[in-house]
């Protein structure tokens, strides 16, 4: 099992810090995540005043220059409103800076500000993603690309240079629980990220099964599944709850206001952290127990916690990363390796 963290580089509208402070803090958080042995760190693209990372590869590249082992990914790249050629070029640059640690996690986007910003029609929501994913996959291959579609000019025998260190550049498809999105990820033969923002792990397990069966349907080789979730680690479960839930409520309210969703409170968020839930907020032992439950139910290969949310203070985020890397991850990895009766090879993210 690989364990990591991700964030939208939140700058809470109320009570938070401004981007010139938050982005350097975020880079320190990624450096610490590398030092404590986390496997992966992600930054999510949003074009929204509450979040300060509309261009994740730029920030990830700064972190790449100061880290050695950790993998660096978008979480997500809103591929629907971007140009696959530019996405490939940017992540190739990140891969060259990081010497082979770049990954792109592509999705359709939950907040659709990028559609307005870049002039796309929501009626094309599915068609945009399908076409752009198809092109991105071809660009990763070794062959010159001749291609045409609806949403960008055609390509004739193009080879995008330079090439990345990794062949192919890892691309994951992020899905939010829609069965058709799961089947689409399988149709492309790409690894899948199951994004969760609540609910119980047991309700997501069938989606992982659906993905595996759909891979079979399309005669695609087995691929890893990653799970993203809201989670936080502190020295005690009380401290984790006190710090995380009010900040998490602010994240939901920042993202939900434009969607007409009623205001959330810390109590609403705490209710999401019940037994069997996807939420993993608590002491190191509580989070260990939760992540092991998730793995037992879903059987995935990677877990990423969205731990820096809303106006959560940098010092608390640093402590959470330290505890996740030093106390949670080693126990979870060892226990899963033991359960699977083999060495690390049984649990690693093999196919990319």
């Amino acid at each position: 099992m690989e364990i990591g963290a991700f964030t939208f580089a939140d700058i809470a509208v109320r009570g938070g810090v401004r981007p010139p402070q938050r982005i350097p803090e975020l880079i320190e958080e990624i450096v610490l995540a590398d030092e404590v042995g986390l496997d992966v760190f992600g930054i999510g693209e949003h074009h929204h005043p509450g979040f300060s990372a509309p261009a994740p590869p730029v920030i990830l590249a700064a972190a790449a220059a100061r880290t050695h082992r950790i993998r660096l990914t978008s979480a997500v790249t809103v591929l629907s409103s971007d140009d696959p050629v530019r996405v490939f070029e940017q992540f190739t640059a990140l891969d060259l800076v990081s010497q082979g640690r770049a990954e792109a996690m592509v999705g359709r986007g939950a907040l659709l500000d990028s559609f307005r910003l870049f002039g796309h029609d929501l009626q094309d929501y599915d068609a945009l993603f399908d076409e752009k994913l198809d092109l991105l996959i071809r660009l990763r291959g070794d062959e010159p690309v001749t291609w045409q579609g609806r949403f960008r000019p055609p390509l004739d025998e193009e080879v995008i240079l330079p090439r990345p260190v990794q062949t192919p550049l890892p691309v994951w498809v992020a899905v939010g629980g829609s069965p058709n999105s799961v089947i689409r990820a399988a149709a492309h033969g790409l690894p899948m990220v199951l994004g969760t923002v609540g609910g119980v792990a047991a309700q997501f397990a069938p989606l992982a099964d659906l993905y595996r069966q759909a891979l079979d349907h399309y005669d695609k080789p087995a691929q890893p599944v990653s799970m993203t979730l809201h989670g936080f680690v502190a020295d005690t479960s009380q401290k984790a709850a006190d710090v995380y839930f009010p900040a998490d409520a602010e994240l939901f309210n920042t993202a939900g206001a434009s969607r007409g969703i009623a205001g959330m409170t810390a109590e609403h968020m705490a209710a999401k952290n019940g037994p069997g839930s996807t939420y993993a907020v608590g002491s190191p032992q509580a989070v260990i127990d939760k992540l092991l439950h998730h793995h037992e139910v879903i059987g995935h290969q990677r877990t990423m916690l969205q731990l820096a949310v809303g106006p959560l203070p940098h010092a608390d985020i640093m402590r959470a990363i330290e505890l996740l890397g030093t106390e949670v991850a080693p126990v979870v990895r060892a226990e899963i390796a033991r359960r699977e009766g083999g060495g690390d090879s049984a649990t690693g993210v093999g196919a990319r």
Binding site: S178, P179, G263, A271
Partner: protein, 222 residues
């Protein structure tokens, strides 16, 4: 219809919400049939893996196997459904007009009418439309469902113009794990839509009724 057929619910759509309703209904002992716009193999795969026990049927047949039909498609796809087959059926509208995710739909955009009124106008006159389940997230539909009588059970608003249909769907809501609270007619179902304090709030019945009465008093002209 046989007693079993009367306990059958048909669902248009096998997305997040359609699957969540199907699973809750199966748990509650209902027969469930699902129809989608996708190819048959995909619907079969989705139902076999995500909702074992659910019958996948053609969209044109769905209303003939179920007296209750749930509309669980994106609102922009409404008019692609075989709506004429819904004559005489109890139809449950769990959809929302949600510009941030659906874009602008001209006939819904004025907001002068509750979205369910526009849905009702698209249905045969004899269809009996009830709005509910639209204001709870699909995660919470499975996480917060509780048996009747459980302390702290979450309330769901039920709106409709046909009182028998509202009563039937109130029982359905109760069977699926939530406390039904009647919120009045479809014309008044703004209270369940995005932007309302009830939308996504997951309230217990007392708090739900309190918020509802505050909304009602606010709407009385000064």
């Amino acid at each position: 219809m046989t007693a079993l057929a009367e306990r059958t619910v048909g669902i248009f759509g096998a997305g997040k919400s359609g699957v969540a309703i199907a699973r809750r209904a199966l748990d509650a002992g209902y027969g469930v049939a699902v129809a989608t716009s996708g190819p048959a193999w995909r619907t079969d795969l989705v139902t076999r893996v995500l909702t074992p026990g659910v019958r996948a049927v053609d969209a044109a047949e769905l209303a003939s196997v179920a007296p209750i039909v749930v509309l669980a498609v994106p609102l922009r796809r409404l008019r692609e459904l075989p709506l004429s087959t819904l004559a005489g059926r109890i139809v449950v509208d769990i959809m929302n007009y949600w510009e941030p995710t659906d874009g602008v739909l001209p006939d819904f955009a004025s907001r002068a009418h509750a979205s369910s009124l526009i849905v009702r106008a698209a249905l045969p006159a004899s269809a009996r439309l009830v709005k509910t389940f639209n204001h709870i997230g699909y995660h919470e539909m499975e996480q917060l469902a509780r048996p009747s009588g459980t302390v702290g059970r979450v309330a769901l608003g039920v709106a409709g113009d046909d009182l028998d249909a509202v009563a039937t769907i109130a029982r359905f809501v109760d069977d699926l794990g939530f406390d039904p609270v009647s919120t009045g007619t479809l014309a008044d179902s703004h209270c369940l839509q995005p932007g309302s304090p009830l939308f996504g709030a997951d309230m217990e019945p007392a708090a739900f009724r309190e918020a509802l009465s505050q909304l009602a008093s606010r709407e009385v002209p000064a």
